[in-house]
């Protein structure tokens, strides 16, 4: 990787970020944000972090982008033009000065640290015991599985938090239908959703499978599944489920619950989250598959938002 490429990429990242942050029009801002996310993915690739690149493009750019687009569309429909008001001069001057000095200070700090590969030395010898190749998966689901366990509950908790916003008569209803402004687009999305959903499922499953040894993993795969589900829902191929459907609830908690159960089962093997010898890979793969399913459904519902009072779509089947 040549230094020039890195430099140009970084400049582009900064440029897109600048536009995303400061352009007047909200839609343009979001578009540039998605572009920014994809460039970030490239940066991660260039850094040699394929796992992160996948996550960044799928989640950082993809899901976050869709979230912002949907939110803007809903705000527009409610009569909020999404214009930020004028900033007082003193404020932006002050903020500018503060942030400039902050960035200089931070850059100096960053440069004062020598990048080194310290922990890889620790991780590498431990990998054979797990029976998988992907070291990032090893860290995520073994060495720091505790972080990941808690994180899966953060995701679940975020959905609960979104649901808690449901208005009085809407509970336990369906989320608002993610509308496509354009009729034709709607049909395209519907058709492609029908086709793409199975494809997405297969792709996602592959990503999980690959995640043991190659880059990939539950989160990236879950995002792909969520993307498929959302696209299908946008086109009306599937209806969004009521939030109290038992099957839905089961799908949501499956991954975290299995993870938790395996962690507690570890107590029998000596302590919380200990994988018994020889079973590590099997357990990790189990966790990954269940987690991927739950993450996919959770992310899709997170994008859909809280239930609304009168959802026009009849119950045409659910997901999960």
């Amino acid at each position: 990787m040549s230094g020039a490429f890195d430099l140009i990429l970084c400049l582009m990242i900064l440029g897109t970020a600048g536009i995303a942050l400061f352009v007047r029009d909200a839609l343009a801002a979001i578009a540039f944000f998605i572009a920014f996310g994809n460039l970030m993915g490239l940066a991660w690739l260039s850094l040699g972090a394929v796992n992160v690149a996948l996550a960044e493009i799928a989640i950082g750019a993809g899901v976050t982008g869709i979230l912002l687009i949907l939110a803007r569309a809903r705000l527009l429909a409610l009569g909020d033009p999404v214009h930020s008001g004028d900033t007082p001069t003193w404020l932006w001057l002050g903020a500018f000065a503060a942030c400039t000095s902050f960035s200089v200070l931070l850059a100096a700090t960053v440069l004062s640290i020598t990048p080194e590969s310290g922990l890889d030395r620790v991780v590498a010898p431990l990998m054979p015991g797990l029976g998988i190749e992907n070291r990032v998966t090893g860290v995520l689901l073994a060495f720091r599985a505790y972080d990941t366990l808690l994180e899966s509950f953060v995701l679940l908790g975020a959905l609960v938090a979104v649901w808690s916003l449901a208005p009085a008569r809407a509970w336990p209803g369906r989320p608002a239908e993610p509308r496509m402004a354009d009729g034709q687009m709607h049909q395209v999305a519907g058709a492609s959703g029908r086709v793409l959903l199975p494809v997405a499922l297969v792709m996602a499953a592959y990503l999980v499978w690959a995640g043991s040894d190659l880059p990939g993993g539950a989160f990236q795969a879950g995002t792909v599944l969520a993307g498929g589900l959302m696209l299908a829902a946008m086109g009306g191929a599937i209806g969004l489920p009521r939030s109290d459907r038992p099957l839905l609830r089961a799908a949501l908690v499956l991954g975290p619950l299995v993870f938790l159960a395996i962690g507690l089962g570890g107590i029998a093997a000596g302590g919380f989250l200990i994988y018994p010898k020889g079973l590590a890979k099997a357990l990790i793969v189990t966790i990954e598959y269940t987690l991927f399913l739950s993450i996919g459904v959770t992310l899709a519902l997170l994008v859909a938002g809280p239930p609304v009072a009168d959802s026009p779509v009849p119950d045409a089947g659910g997901n999960g």
């Binding site: 808690l150 908790g157 916003l165 962690g263 919380f272």
Partner: protein
Amino acid sequence: MNLLGLLVAVPLGFMVAALLLRGSGRWLILAAAPVMAGLALWLALLPPGTTLLVGNWDLPLGILLRADGVARLMVLAGALVIGAIGLHALVDPPGGNDGGAATAETFWPLLYLMWAGANAGFLTTDLFNLYVTLEMVSLAAVALAAMGSLAAALRYFMIAMLGSLAYLLGVALLVANYNTVDVTLLAQVARLDLATVMALGLMTAGLLIKAALFPMHGWLPPAHAAAPAPASALLSAIAVKLGFVILLRLWFEAFPAITGSAALHVLGGLGAAAVIYGSIQAMRQDRLKPLVAYSTVAQVGYLFLAFPLVAGAVEPSSAWAGMTLHGVAHMLAKAAMFLAAGLMLKAAAGDRIADLGGLAQAMPLTVTAFGLAAVSLMGLPPSGGFTAKFLLLSAAIEQGAFLYAGVLVVGGLLAAVYLFRALSACFAPLAGAGPDTASRGPVTGGVKAVAPLALAGLAIVMGFAGTALVDVSAIEVPWATPTVIQPEVAP
């Protein structure tokens, strides 16, 4: 067998169960409260030096859970407080009005999420793991705050996000600089360089937002005041404490050699300012819940006022105990006060303090709970608040830190001013309803007052268990490890 993980896993299990049981999930608290109280009590009684390497992965990589004094006290108090709040929410459900059904159901998983997050945060020594737990707690906290006022919750959310990111940035710098984020390891390798100072500064700034220390407190009063009573109680008792505990880990354990006395006095000064400012604001409120919320701003101030006192003490244990016990006493008393205030406002004519007239007759038990909680918050004996203040004041006088001593003393008086204002309003005759206050029968059955009364009672009883609590708080205090007492090593 080491069961430290259960303190996190069990509430998570209850969260899942609550989600699966949907509407009837609320009854789970009947099991959760005793189970968690039992676990927490077991934790408090463990022999010193109990730790757990999660998954048995060694340190620079793995995550260490440790039952030190702070963790024991906080987890135990948290279990009692959250358990009581949960039981209270059975009889006084949080979703009374708009958004009722969704609020009533989602309250429970959020409660368990916060419980797990708080316990995880109190127990872990890993700074990145602390980031995840911080987000667990913040997420639940914002959602709970949104049950009252969305606008306030959104404001809280935004500022909390910034705080989290500042904290995460600090963690990132530490990872790069030391290849570890474990507090116990950092304590051994910490050196004074730009990255460390920057990281510490960023993390501190982020955490001060979460702990709502003046002047980063702006989000707290509207969010805490508007939420339904059980949610307010959780926010004030639990949510702000985690940031404080992480700061303890950073300032006294990981980087004691780097946090110079000037920096400590900045924190102490902010704490003192918070005490005075929060109290004055509380005095100016004419509605009850904002008053109680501003009291939290003031009480958080004491926690940070204690920082320079701990660092400057010859024998830091007693100041340390004063600081931790203050946190615990505040948890109990403030939760009790918010629950009581919620009941009082439901019975009162309006939400102003002037509307509280007649309540001393109508709901004596609830007003008593409010009063007992007030006693602890004012630092009057016998109460946990007094024990804490006694220890802190002793430390301040011993060191000749008369400014801090003065703030401790004046803060207690100011608290008395605003809390007794609310209390004496309860003694006034029923506002605008003629002389027949007596005809107004008790409006709450005894059941509703049980939880606030129990919590306030615990805050009082704490005042008699001082020695035992001080002993617990001293388990694995940072300066017990020799690395910390060493003077700073030149980088």
